[in-house]
Symmetry: C2
Subunit: 144 residues, 2 copies
């Protein structure tokens, strides 16, 4: 079993609203949207999806919580503190709610949090200890 | 803003228990564990993390829901239906709860769901329409 997460899926009450945030707000390109209930984005070596909460509940045959705050987070990493500031502003102007303003983080980086449509949290951060390749792949260096 | 999710983080009540599942149960290698509250795994072009629910609540300055079921899912994709069967069994024997047995899925693939320690859902699936590179990177082909 390879060490990989192949897809991260957000269950959202309104797929069209969440799609607009990523597609129009952030400028991401949709790779596929085979039904109104699901949208797929190609990310680096992985897939990011938005999926109707109702459809997910039906698929997994159990209720899906409406409380989407904090039980997990996603992260988007920038290459500098300045890029965190810019991206935080861009996300907020695209419709995300500010949760935590960009600031020096206890772990040595620079971090902020927003709540994206659907209620999920996105950390926008700069981690000077991790490598980001030109293609956006992020790598944890071996422990010193 | 590159189209990328840099890190997927699960907030869990017991980090050591969740770590045991991935490290000992699934055989994954920990890239870094800078404190007892957090564990990082290198995945393909991205990072997967386990994080103390209490520590996350403190960091984001808001309560973190204890209801972790279904508001999102992660996926691990296999290269065949048989590998789905094998991996589902491996996950269950490693301590995951079976949620949905492997079966032909409405979208044309073969899919199962388990609940990993901490309460989050992991889909174990084979999608014959998507490409998995030798290094585990998963790619959505252009729409036909």
């Amino acid at each position: 079993m390879e060490q990989q997460i192949s897809m991260t899926t957000l269950a959202v009450p309104d797929v069209a609203e969440a799609r607009r945030f990523f597609e129009e707000g952030l400028g991401w390109t949709v790779a596929a949207a085979p039904s109104p209930e699901v949208v797929f984005f190609q990310i680096v070596g992985s897939i990011f999806a938005l999926y109707s909460r109702e459809a997910l509940a039906k698929e997994i045959e159990r209720p899906v919580t409406e409380d989407t705050t904090g039980a997990f987070t996603l992260a988007w990493n920038a290459r500098s503190d300045e890029e965190v500031d810019q991206t935080f502003k861009k996300a907020v102007s695209a419709g995300a709610k500010p949760v935590k303003q960009p600031e020096k983080a206890f772990w040595g980086g620079y971090s902020s949090y927003v709540e994206v449509p659907g209620g999920h949290l996105l950390e926008i951060a700069h981690n000077p200890f991790w490598t980001i390749d030109p293609d956006g792949a992020i790598t944890i260096p071996p422990e010193q």
